[in-house]
Amino acid sequence: MLQTIRERKGLQVLGLMFPGGVWLIVFFALPLALIFAISFMSRDDLSRPALPLTLANYQQTFDLLYINLFLFSVGLSLLTTLITLLIAFPVALFMARLPKRWRNLMTLLVMIPFWTNFLVRTYALQFLMRANGPINTLLLGLGLIDEPVQLLSTPFAVLVGLVYGELPFMILPLYTSLEKFDWSMIEAAQDLGANALNTLLRVMLPLTAPGILAGSILVFVPSVGSYITVELMGGGKINMIGRVIAQQFGQSSNWPFGSAISLLLMVVVTIAALIYFRIGRGERGAI
């Protein structure tokens, strides 16, 4: 009897998991495995991936050009994560202490950019910062500048673009963990003689760490692999990993090398994810 119930349960699980499992394996895991395999291949005369197997693609990434590319991408993404954290923490703190009605409205205001078209949002920012865009037109009109200032095509422009694009992804998880925060903890800390800085660093930060970690991973991962932002805000002058990958699969048509860079990007992202799951012990509800 128990045996048949178990068997039926097993069949049910199998049936329910089957389509999702197939999809995840075939359209997520398998393509990633393919990236791994092709990163060790060379190219034939038609620049298609071909045998023999080689380490040349990885050797190529040790060129100073690509080392700098990785350092720049990771550095700019860490900076983006830090800046969004510094902006989002006070915003989330403010939101969490509002009365419920206002909190819902503010959440909605964060959710809208969270889910609206990333390409269009980044384009809106680029439009604003163009040489003949609203900012320059305004400054010229006010007589503050004599000729348009170049705001785009700089590392700074890419940074502004990343912060603009990713900010909602930091505010939301921070807000979720601050909303659950027990404010009497602050009082307890202060009663025990902690000053404001100590209360922030030793009470608030550790208790909101899951939100901070979730927000950081949600910002860091898309930043380090960003393509739209670099392309639109960098004006073809700034390069990041995501843009190089796109080039290798586009006009350069060097899939094995593109795969090798993709794999190294996955290594960077996996390290970030491991830090997240180890330190945060994977408070997944926050994402």
Binding site: L16, L24, I35, W115, L125, F127, S184, V269
Partner: protein
């Protein structure tokens, strides 16, 4: 109520329960002012670029950012631009089909993961977080490699299966969250009253899950309509979606038409988000 007390009340309930010394109240204010300022500036930063884009989609000028007067001409042109209309229609078709797919698959997966215990659960749990961890660009090029290697022609089919792959986990998360606060005694009651498993599922479980399923569907639809990067790599000849059309228009140099179509797309996804949130918040059925 005087100005001073009202500011304190907004801070939260604590101050009301434990009234503090006036000296202490004075100290709270500069910090609070800073929080308000940062919050206002942040929301301005998030919304001003979008607002300006929308305003300039009504500007009667082909180039530049000087206001030349109000016009609906760019919007009128959109509806005469066949390439753009085709792209929009393709986006809607792909979003509809892929949403249907991810809703069915995501709900089934959520039921399996929430209701049953099985050995490989941790493995699937990890795999379901892949869309969060794998950068879109890598997901895009890996799918391109996969379809090219498997000899699958890129177009409608590849777009739909890829969109299901990245939006299904979001449906799964929304439905699973709903399943987690599910009152199992209602199902037991149905079974006690003689309903078999299938009837219980169709008449009890599914209707109760509906708000979660619908809000998951709206998110999947939004993700699909908005997706650029993955679609860019898995699309084929004649299957440019709306974001791909916008991208190539941007690469050619901007016309005010792009502002108009962007404004419409923003309005569209904002509506879906609001709809989804309203459904998610609805507690009573």
């Amino acid at each position: 109520m005087s100005n001073e007390t009202s500011t304190i009340v907004v801070m939260g309930e604590r101050e009301e329960i434990f009234p503090q010394e006036p000296a202490e109240r004075q100290r709270v204010r500069p910090g609070r002012l800073a929080l308000v300022t940062i919050t206002l500036l942040t929301f301005a930063f998030l919304y001003v670029p979008i607002a300006i884009l929308v305003v300039f989609s009504f500007n009667d000028a082909r180039t530049g950012a000087v206001w030349q007067g109000f016009t609906l001409d760019w919007y009128a042109r959109l509806f005469r631009n066949e390439r753009l209309l085709d792209a929009a229609l393709r986006s809607l078709i792909i979003a509809t089909v892929s949403t249907a797919g991810s809703v069915v698959i995501g709900t089934m997966t959520a039921l399996a993961m929430e209701r049953f215990r099985f050995r490989s659960k941790t493995f699937w749990d990890g795999l379901l977080y892949m869309p969060v961890i794998v950068p879109e660009i890598v997901a895009g090029v890996s799918l391109l490699l996969f379809f090219a290697t498997a000899g699958i022609e890129r177009g409608f089919f590849t777009l739909v299966v890829s969109h299901i792959a990245f939006s299904m986990p979001f449906v799964y998360l929304t439905v699973r969250a709903r399943l987690a606060d599910f009152d199992l005694s209602i199902e037991e009651a149905a079974k006690d009253l003689g309903a078999d498993e299938w009837v219980t599922f169709r008449r009890i479980t599914l209707p109760l899950l509906m708000p979660g399923i619908v809000s998951g569907a709206l998110l999947a639809f939004t993700l699909s309509v908005d997706d650029f990067i993955i679609s860019f790599f898995v699309t084929g000849k004649g299957w440019d979606t709306l974001p791909i059309y916008i991208w190539s228009a941007l690469k050619r140099g901007v016309t005010p038409e792009v502002n108009a179509v962007s404004a419409m797309l923003l309005l569209f996804s904002a509506t879906l988000v609001v709809g989804s949130l309203i459904l998610q918040r609805r507690r009573s059925y």
